[in-house]
């Protein structure tokens, strides 16, 4: 069968398979959160009974759980995540819609730089195997793996923001790249380090194989050997690391956005959790799981493209 057609069919099948997964996540999250003790309107001072009843009624919390569930799923199918319980006058769709572009910009720049620099550093280290350059690159990688972004970012802010005055410590302006530099570095460092290690290890293995020796022996320049023959198989482990990398960047964005004062959606997860803002937390869980599911799908396709031995039809 034509490989492209097979890829397309595989993509559609998997996409159809993702819908029930997402539906299960929505259902589980909905009922778990309603089983929790306490509600979004519990505050330090107790509200009068009538006010409470009116609030419950306004948000539909007085109806049976199954009716609420039906309404929620119905609205969700129209792209409506419901009203936020704590940010009055805002719907969750609005809150997420405002923050998502910032988070997306931050995350995609971080992912792209982690990929490009990680692959370059990994190749460099493999070519300098057991020499100074290799040791330097791998020491950097250990630092990246070991030190979490919520330590890296304040340290960078202290050095480059407060002492050197080169970059802003925190804050955000539309279309300003200066405000994104430190958060991107802090977010990209952990996945970058892992990617560099993966590429180094797989590159070393590929460089030992017979077809690479043949390519070198027939006099091809090193650059051609690396780019044309060695790179594609050496990238396979990176492709399977992509989904964890995205998860790591999403997790990191929770703290990085709050430290750097970026108006993304990362802060809503923790704030929503602490405030018992049911609809906001549900919205975040749905958005993030959908993103991860799509990412997993793209990774499988990428894998099939990198490695022609992968069969898609079974």
């Amino acid at each position: 069968m034509d490989r492209l057609a097979a890829m397309r069919r595989y993509f559609l099948t998997r996409l159809a398979g993702a819908v029930p997964t997402l539906f299960i996540i929505v259902t589980l999250a909905f009922f778990l959160i309603r089983a929790a003790p306490g509600g979004p309107f519990d505050q330090e001072q107790t509200l009068p009974v009538e006010v409470m009843a009116n609030l419950q009624k306004a948000y539909g919390l007085d109806q049976p759980v199954w009716t609420q569930y039906g309404h929620y799923v119905g609205a969700l199918l129209h792209g409506d995540f419901g009203p936020s319980f704590r940010y009055k006058d805002f719907s969750v769709t609005e809150l997420i819609g405002q923050g998502l572009p910032v988070t997306f910009e931050l995350g995609s720049i971080a992912l792209a730089s982690a990929l490009i620099l990680g692959v370059l550093i990994g190749i460099f280290a493999a070519l300098r195997h057991n020499r100074a350059g290799d040791y330097a690159a791998m020491s950097l990688a250990v630092v990246g793996v070991a030190i979490p972004s919520f330590v890296v970012l304040p340290f960078l802010g202290l050095l480059f923001g407060i002492y050197l005055h080169w970059l802003p410590v925190a804050g955000w302006e539309p279309a300003s790249i200066r405000h994104l530099i430190l958060p991107v570095v802090a977010l990209a460092l952990p996945p970058l380090a892992v990617i560099a290690r993966l590429v180094r290890a797989s590159m070393l293995e590929v460089l030992r194989s017979h077809y690479i020796r043949t390519a070198i022996a027939k006099g091809l320049p090193l650059r051609t050997v690396i780019l044309r023959h060695a790179l594609r198989p050496a990238l396979l482990p990176v492709a399977s690391y992509l989904a964890p990398a995205v998860a790591s960047i999403m997790t990191g964005s929770l703290v990085v956005e709050s430290i750097a004062g970026l108006p993304g959606i990362g802060r809503y997860m923790v704030q929503g959790a602490l405030n018992r803002d049911y609809t906001l937390v549900m919205g975040m869980v749905i958005i993030y799981s959908a993103l991860l599911i799509v990412m997993g799908l793209l990774v499988d396709l990428l894998y099939a493209w990198l490695d022609p031995r992968v069969r898609l039809d079974s």
Partner: protein
Amino acid sequence: MSALLGDAARRLRSNPAALCAMFFILGMVVLTLLGPWLNPNGSDSLDWLHVASRPALQSAHWFGTDRLGRDLFARTLEGTRVSLAVGLVASAVSLIVGIGYGAAAGYIGGRTDHAMMRIIEILSGLPLIFFVIFLTVIFGRNEYLLFLSIGAVGWLTMARIVRGQTLSIRHREFIEAAVASGAGTARIICRHVIPNVIGPVVVYATLTVPQIIMLESFLSFLGLGIQEPHASLGTLIAEGAGEMEAAPWMLLVPGGFLAVLLLSLNVFGDGLRDALDAEER
């Protein structure tokens, strides 16, 4: 076996980075245990005369104080102690669960193995940090829940490694002999499989300690983990990050401790792994 361990110890001794990391770890453990005797200040006693004071060796507060006049040295040591304890306990939990699960899956094999590995695959695909945050919404902030959820993350990789090791010894003669002499499945797993896979697995466990410490301090940083008046390195860093312009030492002291601790644990774990499996080089 002892010759193998001797070889490994020799390789470890010839790795200066790993040795250095080991001394750092030992030093920090000793410091957290002896700290309360070295330092006259308690971790939650307030000194109103020295609020947010700078670090100075000749003053009573070597690393300075925080906004409430609490001694930063004492609080950082308490935080390090908490982080180390969480790291060790949660790693032990994940080790036990992972060994049981992985050995059972690898030894029984077939459909059971397939189903058990499929569960691990699904769980490791989820961003567990969101799961943990979600749980804190449902049950409120609770330190036991925190340990439980951290342990729940740790055992997945461990189970995979144990299964791999189990598969590699499954068809060896001593297992066959045990089967032939009529030992039951549970007995074979406990008496014959687990003792023979435990060596390499313990090495990998040293690498889960820093991961778990990182997760704990991440949650504490977000305000979902260890609560006041107790200190964790994560909560101290969160406080310090808010004050870094006026009182940078409040960030640098706990941040530095966490960075050195995680770095040493990682370097030591890597060194131990390289020492035990020489083929890597």
